[in-house]
Amino acid sequence: MLILNCPYCGVDADETELAAGGEAHLKRHGPGSSDDEFHGYLFARKNPRGVHFERWRHAHGCGKWFHAARDTVTLEVFGTYPAQTEGPPKPILAAIEARRPGWTLD
């Protein structure tokens, strides 16, 4: 029962208000992509023990999609940010590096 801050409405939302949407920052592959690219986009998901970027929707709140950076083992939340981005913003990366020295975005 996580609590995540919705970056749109500012609410610290209980997990019951949220809908999980899996890994964030996937690059969509459409027609013209190779079988491997499409397979990777559609099915291959990271499932790390540690830092992970996830999609969440404030489903029973403002209805907006946002992203969360958190540690899947310690449940530490490094930050949440709007979904309209292709990668984690700098302040989020800085927050992760501060807490996990040596960590790099792959």
């Binding site: 029962m1 996580l2 209980d14 969509r28 459409g30 499409f38 979904a83």
Partner: protein
Amino acid sequence: MSTRLANHGRLIDRSATLGFTFNGKAMIGHPGDTLASALLANDQLMIGRSFKYHRPRGLVASGAEEPNALVGLGSGARFEPNQRATTTELFDGLEAISQNHWPSLEFDIGAVNTYLSRFLPAGFYYKMFMYPRGFWKHVYEPFIRQSAGLGKVPTERDSDTYEHFYAFTDVLVIGGGVAGLQAAKSAAQSGARVLVLEQTAHWGGRAPVDGGSVGGAPVEEFVAALLDELGAMENVTLRSRTMAAGVYDHGYVLGYERLTDHAPTQPGPRHRLWRIRAAQVISATGAIERPLSFAGNDVPGVMLAGAMRDYAVNFGVAPGKRIIVATNNDDAYRTAITLRQAGLDVLRILDARDTGGGALMNEARALGIRIDCGRAIGKVSGGKRVHKVQICAQNGQGGALEAVECDAVAMSGGWSPVVHLWSHCGGKLLWDEAQAHFRPDPQRPPTGAGGKGFVTTAGSASGALSLAGVLRDANEAGKSAAQAAGFKPKRTRTPQAEDATEAPLEPVWLMPREAGVRLRAKTWLDYQNDVKVTDVQLAAREGYESVEHTKRYTTLGMATDQGKLSNINGLATLSQALGAAIPAVGTTTFRPPYTPISMGAIAGEARGAVFQPLRRTPMHGWHAEHGAEWEPVGQWRRPYAYPRTGESVHDAVNREVRNTRQAVGLLDASTLGKLIVKGPDAGRFLDMLYTNMMSTLKPGRCRYGLMCSENGFLIDDGVVARLDEDTFLCHTTTGGAERIHAHMEEWLQTEWWDWKVFVANVTEQYAQVAVVGPKARQLLEKLGGMDLGAEALPFMGWSEGRIGEFDARVFRISFSGELSFEIAVPASQGLAFWSALLAAGHALGVMPYGTEALHVMRAEKGFIMIGDETDGTVIPQDLGLDWAISKKKDDYLGKRAQARSHMTDPERWKLVGLETTDGSVLPDGAYAIGPGVNANGQSNTQGRVTSTYFSPTLNKGIAMGLVLHGPDRMGEVLEFPGTEGNTFHARIVDPVFFDKDGEKQNA
């Protein structure tokens, strides 16, 4: 015999009595008794039979850890199985029955299993029931089903009520023992809001039983003063009879309050589920005593030493009069002393340690109790109660030195902290060699959103086992939790406790150490699941190295008590068998709830009519008044049919179909999803969402569209109407409105966020009525208003205007193949519009029709239905809908997936019509069998039925199905086995059974 003592009993009121029954036998107890203590007072030592061997079992413990004394409580709508007698407070009129025996507790046929026990070892089920193969279904499974299960399932609907309660606090203290109370006080002194949960009805925990003093006064007085102080603090809330069931992510804790279990006539909810958010949690859950592993340690009358002390001090009862105490630590001496002072015969203390104990041993000796050091119990004899104990050397194989007749045995293998709540959310443990237990590792707590620990332990839950140590630890825990929650703790001194210094414990995992197999095979580790030392040793011999695997193979710790008594002893036994250190073997996972909680509490108020919201169309009340047979669709109720007096539902459906085909019918279509998609990029967006081209749709026109998921499967369909240049109205299926709305939002927000499009769900803003049939236009013209002629409003067009008194938007679309107008009016006018249509159409023979008539008519026309023809694995191409897939578009959701090799496989089953050769109706979901058999010896399949109905129009059964190479096999007859041993024969035909050229709908 077990009996009420003349003295002691701090929790009971001897001046009053309560009547109760056990297996129908009338018994008497006192207010303050638990069912367990009251049964002991009535000499009911044997309370149930064990799960596997049906051995007689009595009380082992006095609290939540009790494995044996599970009973059925209450009767009728208030019957509940598997309730622990030790945590059941006695009330007048309580009814209890014992479990797991036949025909009676005293005489049980299943007890023969105990003599078969050498043939029922660990893994017996896995080994035995493999062969011969055919035996499983007809011999083994029916036998196991009969003998499996503990307790009886209630047969009536639960008559009690339950509720959920939300709470927020800075510091949550779990456990109202002396540690919890002290921690609560030191946390609350910082100003933090503190909530304290105690699972029993009493505060102070074991301290008043164990004794000792604080600041020179008896600990009981210290507890009372502490309670007064906390009660006076405004920032402190104390809740007794409330157990913390589980600790979850980010400080979420479930509490389970039992409000009326002890007073069933009291009004209000029975249980309350507390959903708590705490910044910090203090787990002050105490410790649980470990049994000793000796032969016959399950005979009724063998009890944990601490429990025997509880029964004597708290309730003034004892399980026997001539008692032997066996121990490996000093604490059990307290029991011996207490029992001696209560006037009972303590025949012997068998201390497994060669050098015995400390100050408490001397105190016991001074009372005249005989103490034998280096001695052990070789075997306890007795059937339904303890009869005799054979005494042997601990360092030996069990050769009896002496046999002593007695009627109760108190045992203590040391104390283990209750680490469950610490562990639920990831707190780690360390092995404490000196005290031979796992305790929380303060360096590795469960962490919260900030990456810091949010659970602290206090008192014996930390592994502190002396009163002074408990208070010191608890005081610190309260301060550090307050600080972590953002408060400044006060500098306070820990209350100074005085208690006896104890000699070190000596781990004893088997008694005697070298016990032979005959003894070990009678030495129980897990009472509730009947797991013995030999079972765990067998598992180790058979290669089970992981404690998690051994647990599942032997069922150790898998019963309703989740191994509260057996875990440490079991894994110590495993580690010895493996020759590995205990910490290397590790523990199994601790999972919530701490003890079982009621299903009612989990459901709370969400039952019956309020289990789910019910959505009603504006005409819902009319349907109800006119005898609608309801069909649930999503959260809506739609009329399935409107049977008339004396008419069957099936006949009503046939009448509704015939009337609609021959005259005119009305359908309440308000539940269809209506999504407005608006903006300069709306056309482009819909081109991505639908398989066909929507951007080319002209205002005033409608187009049927298919929607697929990104992996190509058909997820929804419906008619799209273009309202103006940048506005579309998308109809979805009844159950699909919210899902498709969310689907649109997801893509707009997360992929195409720079596209200028808004989506609004206006489903409930409109009432929608389908006016269907050859006389539909005639009916509408009677109301007057807008021109609905074939030229003004052709098929697949829409227009806006007035019909009679109503503002209407009319779509000329048809899901039945008839001339059809779907008319949307503002929801507030829906009922009036419906009524006006019925009145105007009376002379034309108008009738409402339900969803089943709708289904029959769409099937007659070969129209697919999402959820019938689709099941999440079907693509539009399977359904012959290639015409609705744009070849011109570069991209749409699902396009790339539909090019994957499996999707273009010519072997995919395709949609066809099916017609039985004798006109009967095919069973829904039936499979067409093909030639040969598969690897499991089952017939190969080559198709299945997706929709099947009796068609009143054609007067025969019609169906649709997906069939291998179906469209190329017109006229072929397939075989569909039924469920009653019969077989249906059906011919592959065109799925459009009726008016293939669409003359009727185009009229």
